[in-house]
């Protein structure tokens, strides 16, 4: 973790200070030597997290398209931002979006990106369910679960120059024919990050992180004025689906079974009270989800 975060910060500093056009002039060999001499820098900085989140989100958006309905996107951002504002990381540039996919899932990326599938929304009938799912994802970001996982992965090695992934050099077809060591090293490192992202979002986090996100998510959506049972209602809906169905395959690979999550939520929901004191927002939800 120590070297990796150091290299990351060094490269990002240079990348952020210079403009993207100078990335191809960056001497990675020098960086390796410098890195070996310096002490541990500690956890990822906010700038690093934001840059990482940008590229991880760009990757996820390469897997499925954004939903075209702008009114729907705005609505999901309103609900999501309102819930995020109840957290300790309200100041992040929270950005929410619906991706057009019949699969049922939701994803959080570092820096405050949350994606939810249209397939999942199609099986909801109240705003508090949407708020519950978004709150769970927000909780992952608040607790830096994905950041910690990336930091933990020694296999990333020299995780550096995340900004390179955004550069024209990386994306240019002409540049791809380059065989100079400098370019090839940078490409390899960038692609290590990409494969770490592929791994993380197909394997999932540790299940303790999922239970923790459920707990904090319950608090956040309740603080936002929603009925506390929104997420539990979504879990109930998931139990109604044949667990072998392909629309749930990735969700069930990456999360504990909904039955376990319902049981884990029980004591917390009891503390929050079953008296209906928050909004379900059914009419508003049905009006906005068309």
């Amino acid at each position: 973790m120590t070297k990796l975060s150091l290299f990351l910060s060094l490269c990002l500093t240079v990348a952020l200070v210079g403009c993207k056009a100078t990335v191809q002039n960056f001497d990675i060999g020098r960086l390796v030597n410098v890195g070996k001499q310096l002490a541990d820098q500690g956890p990822m900085t906010l700038e690093q997290e934001l840059e990482l989140g940008d590229q991880m989100t760009a990757l996820m958006l390469g897997a499925a398209p954004l939903h075209r309905d702008q009114k729907l996107q705005r609505y999901v951002n309103q609900v999501g931002m309102w819930v995020a504002m109840q957290s300790d990381r309200a100041d992040l540039p929270w950005t929410f979006a619906v991706i057009d996919s019949s699969d049922l899932n939701a994803f959080a990326m570092p820096g405050g990106y949350v994606l939810v599938t249209s397939g999942l929304l199609d099986n909801m009938s109240s705003e508090s369910e949407l708020a519950g799912v978004l709150a769970h994802e927000i909780a992952h970001v608040v607790m830096r679960h994905h950041v910690r996982e990336i930091e933990r992965q020694k296999s990333i090695g020299l995780l550096s120059d995340v900004a390179f992934l955004a550069s024209d050099t990386y994306h240019s077809n002409a540049e791809k024919k380059r065989t100079d060591t400098d370019y090839l090293k940078k490409r390899e490192i960038a692609e290590t990050l990409l494969s770490a992202t592929h791994e993380l979002y197909t394997k999932g986090l540790h299940k303790d992180d999922e239970f923790a996100a459920d707990r904090l998510g319950l608090l956040l959506s309740s603080r936002a004025g929603y009925d506390s049972y929104g997420l539990a209602a979504v879990m109930q809906t998931l139990t109604a689906v044949d667990p072998g169905d392909s629309h749930l395959a990735l969700l069930f690979t990456t999360h504990p079974p909904p039955e376990e999550r319902l049981q884990a939520m029980q004591s917390h929901l009891e503390k929050l009270g079953s008296e209906f004191s928050g909004q379900m927002g059914r009419q508003r939800f049905l009006a906005n989800i068309r």
Binding site: L59, M60, P65, M81, D103, Y229, A233, F276
Partner: protein, 171 residues
């Protein structure tokens, strides 16, 4: 001919009844995981109408907060949400659980998913994905400000609540 005409009329009259019957068949099937009291309203202090044994099959009609409205003949009323577990069935997009009831009631409601599910968002799609910088740029334009969210909450009458119970990560 007279008989046929009357038979046809009878059949036509029965059609609405048949569709109502299929509506009630669509009520998601569930069971109770413990002996449960059925209440008149979705409130812990509401009158108890009766009790239903664990494992009894029930039909779910609606949800209000932490309560489901159920039917367990001859009883109909409200039970706590966590006492209920749905029977799992084949996936019908946008028609699972309680949402199925609202879809059938709300006229003109259609699902929002446009893609026909030929390409899902599974492990394969994520592993094969490459960075889409254009989509990222587009995504960044749809973010809203905290002020916009506050205004949304104000209009929605969503009042922030202080929730006393603290969560630690090691609960």
């Amino acid at each position: 001919m007279f008989v046929v005409k009357h038979l046809l009329c009878l059949l036509l009259m029965m059609l609405p009844m048949l569709s109502l019957a299929s509506e009630s068949l669509q009520r998601p099937k569930a069971r109770l995981i413990q002996d449960t009291e059925v209440r008149e309203k979705p409130q812990i202090r509401a009158a108890v109408l009766g009790s239903v044994d664990a494992d009894t099959e029930i039909a779910v009609r609606d949800r209000v907060g932490g309560w489901y409205q159920i039917e367990a003949v001859p009883l109909a009323g409200w039970v706590q949400l966590l006492s209920v577990r749905f029977e799992s069935s084949a996936y019908r997009p946008g028609r699972m659980g309680v949402s199925s009831l609202w879809k059938s009631v709300t006229k003109g409601h259609s699902d929002i998913t446009v893609t026909t599910g030929v390409r899902g968002l599974g492990e394969k799609e994520i592993r094969q994905a490459s960075i889409n910088p254009e989509a990222l740029r587009q995504l960044q334009t749809i973010a809203i400000t905290p002020d916009t969210a506050r205004e949304f909450a104000r209009q929605a009458h969503l009042k922030p609540r202080s929730v006393d119970y603290e969560v630690s990560e090691n609960d």
